[in-house]
Structures are given as structure tokens and as C-alpha cells.
Amino acid sequence: ADQPKRGGTLVATWGGGEPQAAFVPAGGGSSPFISSTKVLERLLKLNLALEFEPVLAESVTAAPDFKSYTIAVRKGVKWHDGKDLTADDVAFSITDYWKPISSGPVLKTLEGVEVKDSHTVVVRFTQPLPELTFKAQLAGQGGLILPKHVYAGTDIVTNPANNAPIGTGPWKFKSWSRGSHIEFARNENYWQAGQPYLDKLILRYFRDPAARAAALEAGELHLAVFNPIPVPEVKRLTNTGKFVADTHGFENSAWALTLDFNTRNPVLAKREVRQALLHAIDRNFIAQTVYYGYARPGTSPILTANALFHTENVPVYGFDPAKAGALLDAAGLPRKADGKRFAVNLLAAGWFEENGKVGAYLKQALEDVGVQVTLTVPDRPTSIKRIYTDYDFDLAVSNNTTGVEPFPVTTQYYTTDGIVKGAAFRNANGFSNQELDALVERIAVETDPGKRKELVQEFARFAATEVPIVQLLELDPVNVAASYVRNHSNAANYLGESWGDLWLDR
């Protein structure tokens, strides 16, 4: 409502570490996602009301059979190096980047991309593709538009431009002091008039959450997204009135704490055992002690944040150690002489501090019902390798983030084609069920929103019954900002927004 003020430098950070490269085409996690999206843009974005808004696309129109979509590319947009954005860039991004590298599963049925004119692209599929699925891709993590003139004919994954990306966004990559910060300069020629409001944007990296809190307090840091600081600090800082905490901005990237049961382990292959173990876990306790209340027990893969599809009509597993014991007995796993039933290997992915604590709690809880647990807390790369490449775990504490569109990001944690050795954040538990696969096939092609919702809710019930992977907790990530920072936390996946509309009110 206020008139944005021009100028100033904003220093921002997030609750994780420095990215390995400024842009990691294959994904590489949230950190490069944050840094790359300040420079590179997508065709659409999803706002807080879960409506799509145009970015680099002026419009996206589905054909009546939903087998093709026409994209009108925004005119008058220039790359940071001065070249014009054209339909060729979009077509190149879809065929050479999305399909082979970033978004293969969604584009499984891609037939072809046709450049109609300099600013029109038609995308064709062999099967009907629901509009939500397609638009979610355009607004999603894997939907960045790359400059063809920079990437064509090169190995996108290793292109040196990934460390100094060239995009269309409000921010030009300026410099990177490794170990410290990345500096972005204002794109004077940004297509959205007036933006960015700030002169300079700096993404700064800290290893230590306490240090972020200190920097915020010292006024050296203005915006810190995604659980940047210890939760008790959040309360302390906001109580001063100089800071605000905001849990918005994760509607299209809802975070969950997950527990994978490796069904390659014959014991865990039994559904009853998985269900029994869930009864041994006090999720409210975890939510209170580990997350200080910024979390609540999850029920199904369609999280509460997903207003479009969420359902309460799923089986729940309350904390009841006695029942857990009884179920295990019934499953033929009685306590042996030493009080142990069987032993498992628990891996807690060390990318978030909290996971280790959850791991410690799970160890204790499961040992209470007679399951012997060996805990390891490897760091990010090792965890990813052990979970998603080597399948070297029995139980794995991990996290994922899912958008409102469940296909394919959410479904591939369950489907057989989600089992891709080496591909992270997919089906690591080895669960394979034809019935479920068939259900997901139908979701993939159902274009009627009402029918589709029913199918998705059935999927949710199915998943919550089989529980090869379970959403132990739904997390409420917090963004913390100085109270004079305006326009933050204002999109459904705020980490990946371009932040051109930020301004400082002081």
C-alpha cells in the first residue's frame, strides 16, 4: 500500500550454508536455488493465494485436449548481457534443460516444442497433461529459463556461467566472496518498471545460526529466510519489536520431516511393522522439544498447507508404545532374551541441525519398544549418497519440500518409477506397488480438477496406510526480517522468488 522507497542495500541470508555453485542446473538443494533465482527467472509464479501470476510468460493457454499448451513469451525482456529474450530461449530451456536435467518426470510425455514466432512457443504432449501440473512446472524449481546463447552447445551442468549466471531477473550477479557472500547489482533494464527498488542485494552465508541472530541484532543483516536462527531467538527478537517473524512463503514448498523405511530390509518390508513403529513415536514431543512448536504431526503426503488437495480422512498413528509392542509381537517380532526385537540402522540426514536431534529421539523411542538402533548423522552430501544412491539405511530421517501439485514431486516418493538410483529426493525406500502406480498414472492424466482431487485424496489415504515413507512432522519454516523490510514472504515459494520488490522503509 505504501509507496516503495528506492535505494539502499539489503543483506539477506537463509538457514543453510553457502551454495556449491551460484546455479546448480540439476538442483543441488535450496542454497543454489536461492542464489540462482535472483538472476534467472521462470515463466510463472504462484502467489500466496495459490494463483499463478505471469512472469516471463505473458500467458499460458491450454488446448482443449490438454495435450498442448501455448506460451506467449514476454516481450521487451533483455538478458543481463543485453540480448533479447525470445521464444528460442524458452524452447531451448524446455528441451535441453528441463527435460534432460531438471524436470524429467513431469515432461515424461513431452512430444515436442514448437517455436511459433519470436515470442510464441507451443509445447505438445503425447497424453493429456493437467493444467496444474504444467503450470506448477513453469512456476517450480526446475522451470528456470536459461539464455540459449550462453548454454547452447555446452555442457549445461559444468558451464562456467553457473558460477556467474546471466539471467533476466532484477538482480545481476556481481561478485562472490567465497565463504562470505554473493553480491547482486541492480538490473537497470529490468522489465518490470521501477524494480528492483534496492540498489544492491547481498546474500550472506553463516555456518552458525547464533551468528545470524547476532548479525540481525547488530543490523548487519536485514532479512533471514527459512529457519535462520534458533527458535528461542525468534521469540526474543520479535519481542523487541524491531523484527518480524513470518511463516508465509512456503505454501508451494511445504516442508516436512520424513522418515523413510527401507523396504529392502525384510523386516521393514512388512506394513504392520512400519505402522507399529510409528505408534512408538511421540510426534508432539518432537514438535515441542526440537521445533519449539513450529511444527505439527503430519498425516499424509498431502500436507495441510496444500489447500487444494489436503484431506483429514486418512489413518493416523497416535503415540502408544504399548500398542506398538503388541503390533510387533503380532508381526512375529517378539522381544528376545536381551529385550531386543531386531536391530536397525538409523540415518539422520545432517543438513539440518534438528534432524540429528530427531534421530537421537527416535533412537530412544524405538529402543523403548525393543528395537536396537545405531544412529549416524552424516552431512548433506553423504546423507544424500547414502539415502538415494546406496540405499544404505534402514530408517532415514530426511526432509522434503512439496508444492501444491502432487504430481510428480510428491508421488515419486511412492511410485516404482520414482526409484532412480542416484536421483535424490525420490523413492529411496524401494516401495513398489502396482495399485498405487496405476492410481498415480490416473492422477497424471486426469484433467478435471474435481475428479483429480478425489484421486489425489485416495492417493493420500493409500500412502498413509502403506507408510513406506511418512511425514513425521509438517514444519513451519520461519522468515525473520527487520521490521523496516517490506514485501518479503509474499509468494508461495519465497526462497525462489527474485526479490525485486523488496524495499527498506526507513
Binding site: 552458525d208 547476532a214 534458533p230 528461542p232 514431543f285 522439544t289 526440537v290 537421537a360 530412544q364
Partner: protein, 283 residues
């Protein structure tokens, strides 16, 4: 009788040293804590037993408070002394064994053997030690025995150098010459004549290496590369680091434990030095 008198004299010299007595007392306390931990805290110390971040003395059940997830800090510290002692002692023992072997052979034989041994020592001294430890631990995996291996791999060099230096001065001493003159074999001369004389300063150094190993372990655990199934002081500090604004005691307590233990070991070393080191004896 004379041997026991000598021992008594050494003990007296040791006891003259107030710091050394204090050191011995603290080390004894740590040993007791390590052994008594399961008696005092029968449950797994890594168990969450109460509300998070209770300050010391806030709740009588948790005299030293609880950590960020509600584990009993007193239990963690008591059990932490086990990890500390095990790692400190075994790493020091291993380092001493390696160092004494390399050093005595190098010092006694000299020449090419010495040259080779010293190059090896130099090599290990050149590699930045903590970085080397981190690399080894991360490669072999965060387990207690790997930490011991890593720490002893970087700690043996001073022992080797000291042993060598002692051997160099001792091997030309006339009593060693006398043994050679009577036809005694090299192995026997090293083991029964030179080594006992070279050992006192080495023992002193070993006690310091225990201290060093404890610091290494704490750094490794602090950085999160320690064994997650083990209560360790360094790890506790690392986990408490997040809370320095609200609950800095979580960092302060285990750190103080490390400091006091290392301090005690150093004082003990000083005392041992006074008691054992023949060079200082006459003063």
C-alpha cells in the same frame, strides 16, 4: 628397599608441587566419574529426560540443567568423561608406542636409519595436524576408534623427536659404551639400558599428549564429526553453540570440564617432570 626409597623420594618431589597434587586429584576425579557414570546415571545419557534448556540448579533433578533437547547435562558430562579418557589415553598410548619405537631406533642407530625416520617424522609434522585428523576421521567414519587412530597419527612425532634426542645423548654416554664393550646386544642395550633413562621425559610428554588428544577429540566432536552415539564434551559444546544467547551454560559447562581436565593433565605433567626428570633433580 632403595628402589622404594627412590620412589618415595620421587613421590615427595611430586607432592611438593601443589599444582601437581591438584592435577592428580582432578584426573582421579575424572577417572572416578568415568567409572561411576553408569551407577549415578543408569539411563542412556543421550536420552531426552526433561524439558529443554533448564538452567543449572533450576530443577533439582538436573543439577547442571538440560541441553537444547532436554538431555541431562550432568549425565552427559559424566559419560563424556569416558569418551574423553578412552580417547585421550589410548591415543596417547598409541602415539607413545609409535614415537618411542621410531625415535629409539633412529636415535640409537643414527645414520641412514635416523635420516629416514626423521624424514618420516618431518612429513607427519608438515601436514597440518587438525586438518589431517579431520580428513582421516571423515574418511574412516566418525567412530571412536577412528578418532583414536587419527589423533595418534598426528601425535607421535614429538614423542619420536624427544626419544631420539634422549637416545642421541644417551647412546654415547659411557655406560652405554661400557655395555657395548662387554658385548651386549643392541636390542638389549636399547631396552634395558637406554630406554629406562630416556623414558621419564617421554612419560611427561605422554601425559601432555593425553591432554592434546582430548583437545583434538573435542575439536573433532565440536565440528560435528564425532561419534553421534557417544556422549562427548566437544559435541556438547558444538550443540550448545546455537544457544549462546539464551543458554550459554550448555557451552560453558562441558568446556570448563575440558579445560579443567586438560589443565589437570598439564599440572600432572609438570609434577611428573619434577619427580622424574633427572636433569632437574639436583635443583
Amino acid at each position: 628397599m632403595p628402589r622404594s626409597q627412590r620412589l618415595a623420594a620421587a613421590l615427595r618431589r611430586f607432592a611438593r608441587h601443589k599444582g601437581a597434587l591438584f592435577g592428580a586429584l582432578v584426573v582421579a576425579l575424572v577417572v572416578v566419574a568415568a567409572f561411576a557414570a553408569p551407577l549415578a546415571f543408569p539411563r542412556d545419557p543421550l536420552r531426552i529426560v526433561g524439558p529443554a534448556e533448564l538452567w543449572p540448579f533450576e530443577d533439582p533433578r538436573f543439577p547442571l540443567g538440560t541441553d537444547s533437547v532436554g538431555r541431562d547435562i550432568a549425565a552427559l558430562i559424566a559419560y563424556g568423561s569416558r569418551a574423553t579418557l578412552v580417547i585421550g589415553l589410548s591415543a596417547s598410548l598409541a602415539a607413545t608406542l609409535i614415537g618411542v619405537t621410531v625415535g629409539s631406533v633412529a636415535g640409537y642407530y643414527g645414520g641412514r636409519v635416523d635420516e629416514a625416520a626423521m624424514r618420516l617424522t618431518e612429513l607427519f609434522q608438515t601436514i597440518p595436524s587438525l586438518i589431517f585428523v579431520l580428513t582421516i576421521v571423515s574418511i574412516l567414519g566418525p567412530r571412536i576408534e577412528n578418532i583414536v587412530i587419527a589423533v595418534s597419527a598426528v601425535s607421535w612425532t614429538p614423542v619420536a623427536r624427544l626419544t631420539r634426542a634422549e637416545f642421541l645423548t644417551l647412546r654415547d654416554r659411557d655406560f652405554v659404551q661400557a655395555c657395548r664393550a662387554m658385548g651386549m646386544g643392541d636390542a638389549r642395550i636399547i631396552a634395558t639400558e637406554v630406554l629406562p633413562n630416556a623414558l621419564p621425559p617421554v612419560i611427561v610428554l605422554s601425559s601432555l599428549i593425553v591432554a592434546g588428544a582430548i583437545l583434538f577429540e573435542s575439536a573433532v566432536s565440536f565440528l560435528g564429526l564425532g561419534d553421534p552415539n557417544l556422549a562427548s564434551w566437544g559435541r556438547l559444546i558444538g550443540e550448545g553453540r546455537q544457544l549462546i544467547r539464551s543458554s550459554w551454560y550448555v557451552c560453558a559447562l562441558p568446556g570448563a570440564a575440558i579445560m579443567v581436565t586438560v589443565l589437570a593433565l598439564n599440572l600432572l605433567g609438570d609434577g611428573l617432570n619434577d619427580a622424574l626428570n633427572p636433569r632437574l633433580r639436583d635443583r
